[in-house]
Amino acid sequence: MKKLYLLIPCLFITTLLLHAQQRRKAPTSYNAGNSQDAKFLEKQWWLGFKAGINLSGADVVTAYSALSPVNYTPSAKAYDNFKHPGVVAGLEVSFYYKGFSVSFQPAYRNAIFSYTNQYLWEDPGIPENRLELTYAQKQQIDYADFPLLFRYDFASTRLRPYVQVGAVYTALIDATKSVTISGIDYASGGQNEFTNEPIIVGAKQLFADYQWALIGGAGVNYHVGNIRVNLDLQYRKGMSLANSTENRYGNAQLAGVGDAMDDIKINSFVVTLGTLFPLRFLTKGYSSINLK
């Protein structure tokens, strides 16, 4: 998150500096002077940087557990979806043509989601023989995303809202997992509440190397001089499993505490703020867009 806090002001400062420089160099003419300019500005390439946050959640396809109860029904894992913000930062390359855009946005994404397992041991006739344990499991996964999006701009004004659809192909970079065991032990003479130190392990082998998701979203571009500031919102619907089915029990530390990853698909909300620069200019007037 610290990286994000630094990156967003940097993007703003870059935007403002470029805008100021643009104003000094040449007064902007947002109205195309002639039809040749207008035709030229029907197309545009944009290149820029963007960063933001993502909130991830898991859809359980098939539940798994290393604990196989013999005389009780196991409780399902309780997922805390879309609760933990992770960072996302990357590039955007877009090609604009008459209101439609194709956008490729390779990015680094840090997805975080968590779940808890709860267990209870007791002796019906002896109330003090009772132990409640909660295993809080937090996953932090680093991904390289390769989204391809198709956009439609609603307007040709300085402020241009758009909608978008697309797909993202994702490659796993790294993953860690932490397990914090807490509980209440009634057998030790009182209500002994405790929280153990978390077990933090590298867990790359527990996650799928590749996955893909569908994207739907919306956003807005605001043109400042010849550059654009972009606010983008995406919802990504996981279409393939995010966990490794082969290495489900591959981590001895985690399997030892009874944890096994469910078959899950990861969904996420991604919000980014970015600055984009035009790659095609008119030689005269330096206009990057055609404002009607």
Partner: protein, 395 residues
């Protein structure tokens, strides 16, 4: 040129799509870790042995804590081929002290147990689901069963005669008939049997009692002449054919597997130290001492560690797998080449909850199944099965 680029692009995309994960029951069957939990606070279980059944599932024999006697009760658990719990059986307290191996004879599974009142050894039988338990008393007086192993359709049993102070080795049929039996003195005096009784009551050290057959001789790992010894016998002579002595109850063999002739794979303990001997020649026809044997010492193992040895074929290589309890509460697996005794690889299982090995077996597919006691929440003794695919073992 454009077509070639497009072709390679499509090929690349197809390759990437092929890398996507899908739910795959084959993977679920190939590797798993399963802990069989019971919600009862006072319940405590420990496994003794495991067998893969013909349906691909697993039958686990174990013991359980009883509230009415200090002996341990009998507990059987059936899991499917994915390791998921199917059923369990808590045998009533009329029979106690389950003793492995869990042996498949015909279509059924056998082990030894004991009547808590008469202390008489019984041959217990269950079906492949761990159900339809029957117990047949053996035909002669054999008290305190200590170990059992399979010899064809017979059972090689070790028991303890507390009246004559003898370790008794017997050949028993699956119907309980004792075809031969011979007792060997543990030594005179009351103090000699104290650790043995503590073993049965589980109030003291659990000794690695064992029986087997090496060539034409039978052997047992048990008390003889004041020491925990490896005794070779033809079960006919009053004096053993050969003895490898230990150091009273402070030294001896932790596990032993015959390989060929007088060559054995063994593990020994000596005043807390542990030594693995993947290739050792033993004198089966004279008296020798286990303390004279060398061996690889492993300081990571618990004092006088429980060790299980298995011969296995992994990736077309004949190997010996030693499974032992470590001080870090893991189970260490040590792989040695069977022919040369050279070290090949090691692997450790378990971490967060303590794990203590009970048995290691190779499945029909060549994978390893490790049966262990784990302590859920660091407290509650429960059965645990860990299956490791053969492909995951790097020799």
């Amino acid at each position: 040129m454009m077509r070639i680029k497009t072709f390679f692009l499509i090929l690349f995309l197809l390759a990437q799509v092929a890398c996507l994960e899908e739910t795959n029951p084959a993977f679920d069957e190939k590797a798993f870790t399963k802990i069989y939990d019971n919600y009862q606070f006072s319940a405590s279980y420990f496994p003794i042995d495991v067998q893969q059944t013909s349906d691909g599932g697993y039958l686990v024999l174990g013991g359980r804590r009883l509230s009415t006697t200090t002996f341990t009760g009998i507990y059987l658990l059936k899991a499917d081929k994915f390791g998921n719990f199917i059923s369990d059986e808590e045998i009533d307290e009329s029979f106690v002290n389950p003793v492995g191996d869990l042996m498949k004879i015909g279509a059924d599974y056998y082990f030894l147990c004991m009547d808590p009142l008469t202390l008489q050894t019984h041959v217990a039988r269950v079906d492949a689901n761990g159900e339809n338990f029957t117990a047949t008393p053996v035909s002669t007086s054999l008290t305190y069963p200590a170990a059992a192993s399979q010899d064809g359709t017979n059972i090689i049993a070790l028991s303890y005669n507390s009246v004559n102070l003898e370790s008794v080795i017997s050949i028993i049929t699956s119907t309980g008939s004792v075809s031969s039996s011979k007792g060997y003195t543990i030594g005179a005096g009351e103090g000699v049997e104290e650790p043995i009784i503590n073993h049965y009551l589980r109030t003291g050290r659990q000794f690695p009692f064992q029986t087997g057959k090496a060539g034409s001789l039978y052997f047992f790992n048990g008390f003889y002449n004041y020491t925990f010894s490896l005794v070779f016998t033809d079960i006919s002579q009053d004096v053993p054919n050969g003895v490898v002595q230990g150091q009273q109850d402070d030294g001896g063999f932790s596990a032993i597997v015959p390989v060929s002739g007088n060559t054995f794979a063994a593990a020994r303990f000596n005043f807390g130290d542990n030594f693995l001997l993947p290739k050792v020649n033993l004198n089966t026809s004279g008296t020798s001492s286990s303390t004279d044997l060398e061996g690889f010492t492993l300081p990571e193992l618990t004092p006088d560690a429980t060790v299980k040895i298995m011969r296995a074929t992994i990736k077309n290589q004949q190997v010996l797998v030693f499974a032992a309890d470590t001080k870090s509460k893991q189970v260490g697996l040590y792989f040695y080449d069977e022919a040369s005794g050279t070290f090949l690889a090691s692997r450790y299982i378990g971490y967060s909850n303590p794990l203590e090995v009970a048995a290691i077996k190779q499945t029909t597919e060549g994978d390893l199944i490790i049966c262990a006691t784990t302590f859920v929440g660091g407290r509650f003794g429960r059965f645990c099965l860990v299956k490791i695919p053969q492909s995951d073992i790097r020799l």
